[in-house]
């Protein structure tokens, strides 16, 4: 039968819930834990936290990993779904956009929901950088160098951050360090206030002696000071600016979230934490990949008819302080604006590449609940090989009167 010629109706997509493992320092607390087990644990906890969702109603499982080898390979979304005990009728796939893997998993399944292909989907990501260091097994095409398609420094993320400092001399090492310190302080305060813990999934660990343990908090956050930060070395360039104190570390961790069509969420009695407004991805010169979130955000604002002033909360991935500061400078936002990363970010909690996008969303969702005066929020991140990714969300708890 021919298709009805009536224009297709898009459906509203909502973020129902999200969880993550505590993030580990690479090769440390999760050294004895498989990557797939990290994300399987997240999926199981997500299902357990939402008992009104019949497992067979999950229409897709999209799981991101940057290095899809070994325990991060084998069509991770499908195998993770099976290992998590979802019915065999639930399909799944693996997805990759380097650091924005989980974010892309979200936008891709969300688009499928909006289009009517799915009612409910799981999106998430995992990166075990201890087991799979960045660049493991890569084989760059020799044309990249021969034809000067990309500057050789583009493949080393820290070097691209130094390049960014070169182009934006107003962003000094001191500014970057201060941003890094604030990230640590904000995370410590958020932990003390119990803001982070509710969405952490305790994860069994096994140490080199064979003893089991339990990871319940992020491993990377630390106490520091401007003095200590100033003393750190600059591994990507002698006398450079990028240090371990103003950049995210190498981490292991996983995230997963539940997305649904708004009407299906109502039908299944699922909570609505955020409503998807729009998203955009954009490319930039790979050697200054940190610029990426600027054009992707401009594009997302354009797509949604919003302006930067409409955004009341920002969750920006802190791959490097310089890259967040470039964004803030571009949009005229102060370094210590309280709307930005109120509970700290990747510099403090860590950045297990492909998993991080959903961590931003988990935190934004919690903050929305605390801020009924905020209507829109934004999650954004830079992506290796020169990209930016931005997703704009609406707060279902928004009350105009609260904004007075």
């Amino acid at each position: 039968m021919p298709r009805d010629a009536a224009p297709r109706q898009l459906r509203d997509v909502v973020f129902v819930d999200g969880v993550r493992t505590p993030f580990g320092k690479s090769g440390s607390m999760y050294a004895g834990v498989r990557a797939d087990d990290l994300v399987v644990r997240c999926i199981r906890e997500l299902m357990r936290r939402n008992p009104s969702l019949p497992p067979e109603r999950v229409d897709e499982v999209a799981i991101a990993a940057t290095t899809q080898i070994g325990d991060q390979g084998l069509t991770l979304g499908r195998t993770a779904a099976l290992l998590a005990g979802l019915p065999k009728t639930v399909p799944g796939y693996a997805i990759d956009r380097m650091c924005a893997g989980a974010m892309t998993a979200v936008t891709t399944v969300a688009s499928g929901i909006a289009f009517g292909a799915y009612d409910v989907a799981i999106a998430g990501g995992v990166e075990h950088m201890g087991r799979h260091p960045m660049g493991e097994g890569v084989d760059p095409n020799p044309r990249i160098l021969a034809e000067k398609l990309v500057d050789p420094s583009a493949l080393v993320m820290g070097a691209t951050a130094e390049n960014l400092h070169d182009r934006l001399p107003a962003i000094t090492r001191e500014r970057a360090d201060r941003f890094g310190l604030r990230s640590q302080e904000k995370t410590a305060a958020a932990y003390a206030a119990g803001k982070i813990q509710p969405d952490l999934v305790p994860m069994a660990t096994r140490d080199p002696e064979g003893a089991w343990g339990l990871a319940t908090v992020d491993e990377a956050p630390r106490e520091t000071s401007m003095e200590k930060l100033a003393g750190l070395r600059t591994p990507f360039r002698p006398h450079g600016r990028v240090t371990a104190g103003n950049a995210a570390g190498l981490n292991d961790g996983a995230t997963a979230c539940l997305l649904a069509a708004a009407d299906v969420a109502t039908e299944l009695n699922l909570p609505v934490a955020m409503r998807l407004v729009g998203y955009a991805f954009a490319g930039v010169d790979p050697e200054v990949m940190g610029f990426g979130p600027i054009p992707s955000t401009e594009k997302a604002l354009r797509n949604t008819g919003l302006s930067i002033d409409d955004i009341g909360l920002f969750e920006l991935n802190e791959a490097f302080a310089v890259q967040v500061l470039a964004f803030l400078d571009h949009f005229g936002i102060a370094d210590d604006d309280p709307r930005v990363n109120p509970w700290g970010g990747a510099i403090s909690v860590g950045h297990p590449l492909a998993s991080s996008g959903v961590r931003l969303m988990i935190q934004l969702a919690r903050q929305f609940a605390e801020h009924p005066e905020v209507r829109y929020g934004l999650t954004a991140m830079c992506v290796g090989i020169g990209q930016g990714a931005t997703v704009i969300w609406e707060n279902p708890h928004y009350r105009p009167e609260a904004a007075q």
């Binding site: 399987v40 644990r41 199981r44 906890e45 290992l83 998590a84 005990g85 813990q197 999934v201 305790p202 994860m203 069994a204 140490d207 002696e209 064979g210 003893a211 089991w212 343990g213 339990l214 319940t216 908090v217």
Partner: protein
């Protein structure tokens, strides 16, 4: 950490870690048992392992944790006391000490004022399950398939609290099932769901996040959010159940093995005795049993079955084995059909059955397909595998179907001329490297191969009935069998999940020859005038799985008569061709009626007037067994007494407490009396000198 009494212990270390569990103010102490190897070498408790657990509990208690939890390494919780260590115990005092030390350490978990938990993540047997029973609460992973107290099967009792704690937790009927009945039924184990149903665990959790959920559950118990309620144990039927179990044991073992009876005594005690009294009785029982020859023979038998059966002595390099991608079976009778099913199931290659006419082929095929359907109906095969197996098995009246087979096995009438004709016919049709195997139970494989163009490709594969259940395969090397053929025979046997023993081409090989000689002593007694009932029960002190007449009934008097005939021809002075047996076979009368000798048999038997006592019958039977065993070893039928024992354990169900047969013949003195020396040095399958 080593112990001078047990220098080679693979120590299972108990590692204490303090872990933060959400919702609790104080950390929990999580103790992991891990011997540093993967799951193929499971955790066990030897002296070093116990000491490590003791220290780990001390460390845990010192931290004043919210709770203490004990768990295992991946797939393994703990499979109990180290069996290798038991063989090293040299005195009763040492044995008592072993029991008391386990009790003392495990009791720390039971008596702890801090709540204690066992997180049973994998296989938990014997002392492993007992340490879990001492904890206040238990979580259990739903994937666990090996939960058992197997001690009685070996010749011991669960003597680290098992006999006292289990019945108080799950009731006397369940406890008697787990402690006495299951170990005597091919060491049957409990799956997680069954154990949970019985009440062994308080909660059943998925394996995917078992440890995380166990910790969460434990925290909720400690906080009072989860209240564990267990049904009170009924004691009014206690004595009746014990009496009933004892009667069942008598029927089966006739008092032959001490361990199950001791276990029942301890279970009886558990009803009213204070825990300390019960555990003290366990210590005494353990010491008595550990210092018994029956237990030493049991340990020896366990080692044969666990180790020697997996690495057959004398098998050629397995790299020589040829791949078997298609199997032909000559014959479509019951034995052939059983073989067809087994080959299809285990090798998953095409199997063709042939017979003389379509009717016989169809009958064989319908048996195989019917069995596949039955397995599928029982849920033992899923639909996909059932469809695959159906597709693998076919039949033909034309042996040309063997043209591309790699192995053809004959299971036709036991007649040398017939078998030679079959092999000649098959050889003309098959590939030059195709293995020709015979399932003969008594005929000469060498003679069968003699006139073939390639006799080196012939091997004997002697299966036991019922083929699917009996674990033994006698692999027969004929005079001209080459290494590749023999290696293929062993490889196929292993793939069929049989335990292979290399046997020389000698009349009736091992099991049938010994059983025929042994049964012969009983029939001679009957022929001499011994009442059938006396002769049939004369071997009861051995605790064999079947009395002679029941065994004869199972084998079939006609088959037994045929085998006896072959052996009589070969060794006329030791094997007789009994006329009485011929008449019984021809009469077709059942040997047993209501488990008693059929009174109608009397009219068929011609007997003398020199009856023997039961003791004399037993003595004669053991005498001829000792003599025949020695002759077979001298002839090189098998390499060592261990192979004889393995064959009798796996092929005839001889019990562990006899160690097969040679340890028992050493123990009774028949070995020395009849053959002038022991089969095994003292200490190998008996108490050290």
């Amino acid at each position: 950490m080593t112990n001078p009494d047990f220098p080679n212990e693979v120590v299972t270390r108990a590692l204490t870690r303090l872990v933060r569990v959400p919702g609790l103010d104080r950390p929990a102490a999580l103790i992991t048992l891990d011997n540093g190897h993967d799951h193929t070498k499971p955790n066990t408790f030897g002296p070093g392992g116990l000491a490590s657990l003791d220290a780990a509990i001390t460390e845990a208690l010192a931290a004043e944790p919210a709770f203490i939890a004990l768990t295992g390494k991946p797939f393994i919780f703990c499979v109990g006391a180290d069996i290798n260590g038991m063989g090293l115990v040299r005195s009763r005092e040492q044995a008592l000490q072993l029991g008391r030390e386990g009790h003392r350490i495990f009791a720390r978990l039971r008596n702890s004022s801090v709540p204690t938990f066992a997180f049973i993540n994998g296989a938990a047997m014997g002392g492993g399950l007992e340490v879990a029973l001492h904890c206040h609460y238990r979580t259990l992973s739903s994937s666990v398939t090996m939960l058992a107290l197997p001690e009685v099967g070996l010749g011991l009792v669960p003597a680290w609290g098992g006999t006292q704690l289990l019945p108080k937790l799950v009731g006397i009927i369940n406890a008697a099932t787990v402690i006495v009945q299951n170990p005597l039924q091919q060491n049957k184990m409990l799956r997680a769901a069954q154990a949970y149903e019985m009440g062994i665990a308080d909660v059943l959790l998925d394996p995917a996040d078992f440890l995380e959920r166990s910790l969460e559950w434990a925290a909720s118990v400690v906080q009072g959010q989860t209240v564990v309620s267990r049904a009170p144990v009924e004691t009014k039927d206690w004595d009746g159940v014990i009496a009933f179990a004892r009667a069942l044991l008598d029927e089966k073992l006739h008092g032959a093995a001490p361990a199950p009876y001791r276990a029942l005594d301890l279970l009886a005690l558990a009803k009213d005795a204070p825990f300390e009294v019960g555990t003290a009785a366990e210590d005494e029982a353990l010491a008595d049993l550990l210092m018994s020859d029956e237990l030493r023979s049991g340990i020896y038998a366990f080692d044969l079955v666990q180790r020697r059966a997996k690495r057959p002595v004398g098998a050629p390099d397995k790299a020589l084995a040829r791949p078997v991608t298609k199997v032909g079976i000559v014959g479509a009778g019951l034995m052939a059909s059983q073989l067809g099913l087994l080959f299809a199931q285990r090798l998953e290659v095409p199997v063709v059955l042939t017979d003389l006419d379509q009717e016989r082929v169809d009958k064989g095929l319908s048996y195989v397909h019917g069995e596949i359907d039955k397995l599928a109906a029982k849920g033992r095969l899923d639909a996909g595998r059932a469809a695959k197996l159906h597709g693998l098995v076919s039949g033909s009246v034309d042996k040309a179907a063997f043209a591309d087979a790699d192995l053809v096995i004959e299971a036709v009438f036991e007649d040398l001329a017939v078998k030679k004709r079959v092999f000649a016919e098959v050889e003309a049709l098959v590939k030059p490297e195709c293995i020709l195997a015979t399932n003969t139970s008594s005929l000469s494989v060498t003679a069968m191969a003699a006139d073939l163009a390639h006799p080196e490709r012939v091997v004997g594969l002697h299966f036991f009935n019922p083929v699917a259940l009996m674990p033994l395969l006698e692999v027969v090397r004929a005079e001209q069998t080459d290494d590749a053929t023999l290696a293929t025979g062993f490889a196929v046997g292993k793939a069929l999940r049989k335990s292979c023993v290399l046997v020389k081409d000698a009349p009736a090989f091992v099991v049938n020859r010994l059983l025929t000689r042994f049964q012969g002593a009983v029939f001679s007694a009957i022929e001499a005038g011994t009442p059938v009932e006396v002769a049939d029960t004369a071997l009861d002190p051995m605790g064999l799985p079947m009395r002679p007449l029941a065994l004869l009934q199972l084998v079939g008097p006609a088959v037994a008569y045929h085998v006896a005939g072959v052996l009589h021809q070969a060794f006329p002075d030791r094997f007789s061709a009994s006329e009485n047996l011929r008449r019984i076979a021809e009469s077709g009368l059942p040997l047993l009626v209501d488990n008693k000798p059929n009174p109608e048999l009397a009219s068929l038997l011609q007997v003398g007037n020199a009856p023997l006592t039961a003791e004399q019958v037993l003595d004669n039977a053991l005498t001829v067994l000792a003599e025949e065993t020695r002759i077979m070893l001298d002839e090189g039928v098998v390499a060592e007494p261990q192979d004889i024992d393995l064959c009798l354990i796996l092929g005839a169900g001889f019990p562990f407490q006899l160690g097969g047969i040679t340890p028992y013949l050493d123990r009774t003195g028949h070995a020395e009396r009849v053959t002038g020396r022991r089969f095994l040095p003292r200490g190998v399958a008996s108490l050290p000198a």
